[in-house]
């Protein structure tokens, strides 16, 4: 069932996994004078595959940062894997937006994925056999085993997303926090990455990913949360994405949903609408450099 903000909160019994991986109550957060999230409640059951959907500046990235412990909430309580944010950090893998990474940085694909092992290896020690095996396995899972020696800047946008997902996999987390993991990648890459995330969720890990792509959210995610400074609705991804009223509320009228011939829906998503007033998130277009 779809649960809207006005709806009943008591009936939010999670379908999968009794223990919530993430539990937010009355969480507000922002930057300077900007309030990006306004008193948010959210429960993410363990094993969920959750899409966080909303326009630019809606607070999607802020939501991930608050959960990851990168940004302190101004109000409210947050539980991540049963503790305050940041306490269970080694069980959390956070992948930033592609725009947040310096692609000229002199590291190879293998070195980037090994970074996922650094907290486990610990200080004063080098990577061991288990670490190398985890890196190899993660690279094979995302189909990038052959690129291990290449510099990350020499990869295409889709390959870069694959490598960053491999870094997350290599850290063997219980919770994935992924900021736009399939934005700006080709259809094959999108399907491959979603296959990997689906498998992780099936194995009992929790996956939370922001996305602009309503079609992908509808087809590949179980659950969704519509966000625009507050939670507009949570529920099965398919139902939310086909609900014109909720989408209009989330996007403020900047989205059009048309029924298509196959009985589904054709979604015209205004992903490039810039809401300057809510400029808490920066959004860049693919610059075509690679």
């Amino acid at each position: 069932m779809i649960e809207t903000e006005a709806g009943t909160k008591a009936s939010s019994a999670p379908a999968r996994g009794a223990v919530p991986a993430i539990r937010l109550r009355g969480v507000s957060a922002g930057y300077g004078d900007l309030l990006a999230l306004d008193r948010i409640d959210l429960d993410v059951p363990t094993g969920s595959l959750l899409a966080v959907i909303g326009p630019n500046g809606a607070g999607k990235s802020t939501l991930l940062k608050v959960i990851a412990g990168l940004l302190e909430a101004r109000t409210g309580t947050i539980e991540v894997l049963g503790a305050r944010p940041g306490i269970a950090a080694r069980r959390v893998a956070y992948v930033p937006q592609a725009e947040a990474v310096d692609w000229e940085f002199p590291v190879t694909v293998g070195e980037v994925v090994m970074m996922g092992r650094v907290p486990r290896i610990g200080i004063l020690r080098g990577p061991g056999t288990a670490d190398r095996a985890a890196v190899d396995h993660a690279l094979a899972t995302v189909g990038m085993a052959a690129a291990v020696e290449r510099q990350i800047g020499a990869l295409s946008g889709g390959q870069r997303r694959r490598v960053f997902l491999a870094r997350a996999l290599a850290s063997e987390p219980d919770l994935y926090l992924l900021d736009e993991p399939v934005t700006g990648v080709d259809a094959t890459t999108q399907e491959d990455l979603m296959d990997v995330l689906e498998a992780e969720a099936k194995a009992g890990r929790t996956v939370v990913a922001t996305t602009h792509d309503l079609a992908c959210a509808a087809h590949r995610f179980q659950e969704a949360a519509l966000v625009n400074r507050r939670i507009v609705a949570t529920g099965p991804a398919k139902d939310l994405v086909l609900d014109q009223r909720l989408l209009a509320e989330t996007y403020g009228g900047h989205v059009v949903v048309l029924p298509d011939l196959a009985g589904g829906a054709l979604i015209l998503d205004d992903a490039h609408h810039h809401d300057e007033a809510a400029g808490g998130e920066r959004h860049y277009h693919e610059d075509g450099r690679s």
């Binding site: 990168l70 950090a89 893998a93 310096d102 940085f105 020696e149 510099q151 020499a154």
Partner: protein, 291 residues
């Protein structure tokens, strides 16, 4: 003059021997520290910290305590203050650094102007005098340099991760803030170690130029680090010989050799050089195979 004479001639003098050792030591420490400085974009901070060492030197002189101590205190304090300013915000970061940079240096000049007699020591810190380095200075440089290198070596994988992706590293539990303060503190120490050799004004070149040259040529962190060290060592040795035979300033000679090597890399780098770009427009750098 034979080649042997050319090489061994200057080394007949103790000040040249000490100068060579000091230049190499400083070059190596700066190149390693500089690799992090370049990748983290701390060049401007490095310049600010080195200028902030000046009031520390003058105050130490006025108080009659060792100049090194004053410089170190001022440099490390400024580095940490910059770290704190960068967290608070309200101003653009480079603006805040610029204000601090000019203010601290002005304080140094003001205090300097109160000293009536000519102070050669203080001047040598402004412009550097690698040939005036005494044996006990050399011991100090070596000791502090080894400490900086050891800390960077021990924490290399944590520093690399938090430099490349601070958000990802912090979310996975690395103490990214503390690592950043540590790096700034080490930067302060590195600068203090270096200013006696190359001077406050040129130390930023020793930090940035070898690492920047290396980044143009290689694509792996480890190789960038070792190439930066080679650039620094070659520049230190050849710069010192140049200064001896041409009878020109030693610190400036070293920095100019580094600058020339950077210029050569900028033009001839097979991946990112200006010549390579002409052939591979528009995406030459991005599609070239990794080394």
């Amino acid at each position: 003059m034979s080649l042997v004479d050319f090489v061994t001639g200057p080394m007949a003098y103790g000040f040249m021997q000490r100068g060579l050792v000091a230049a190499i030591l400083v070059g190596v420490v700066c190149a390693v520290m500089g690799t992090f400085v370049v990748l983290k974009g701390l060049a401007f901070i490095g310049d600010a910290v080195s200028h902030a060492a000046f009031p520390g030197l003058v105050i130490a002189y006025l108080l009659g305590i060792p100049l090194y101590v004053g410089a170190a205190a001022a440099a490390v304090l400024t580095a940490l203050a910059i770290g704190a300013v960068s967290r608070r915000g309200g101003l653009r970061f480079d603006t805040a650094v610029g204000v601090l940079f000019a203010g601290t240096f002005a304080l140094g000049i003001l205090l300097f102007s109160t000293i009536r007699n000519y102070v050669a020591d203080l001047f040598s810190y402004l412009l550097g005098n690698v040939l005036g380095i005494a044996t006990e200075d050399l011991v100090q440089i070596a000791l502090l340099g080894v400490i900086v290198l050891a800390v960077l070596y021990v924490l290399r994988k944590e520093l690399l991760y938090s430099t490349f992706d601070p958000a990802g590293a912090a979310a996975s539990g690395l103490p990214v803030n503390r690592l950043e303060y540590l790096l700034l503190g080490l930067l302060g120490v590195t600068i203090v170690v270096s200013i006696q050799a190359v001077g406050i004004i040129m130390v930023v070149a020793m930090l940035v130029t070898p690492a920047a040259t290396a980044q143009l040529l290689v694509v792996r962190f480890g190789r960038m680090l070792s190439l930066a060290v080679w650039v620094a060592v070659v520049s230190a040795v050849s710069g010192l010989y140049l200064s001896y035979y041409l009878n020109v300033a030693s610190g400036a000679s070293i920095v100019l050799v580094e600058t020339a090597l950077f210029g050569a890399a900028l033009v001839f780098s097979p991946r990112r050089g200006l010549l390579a770009r002409r052939h591979h427009e528009p995406t030459g750098a991005a599609v070239a195979p990794g080394a």
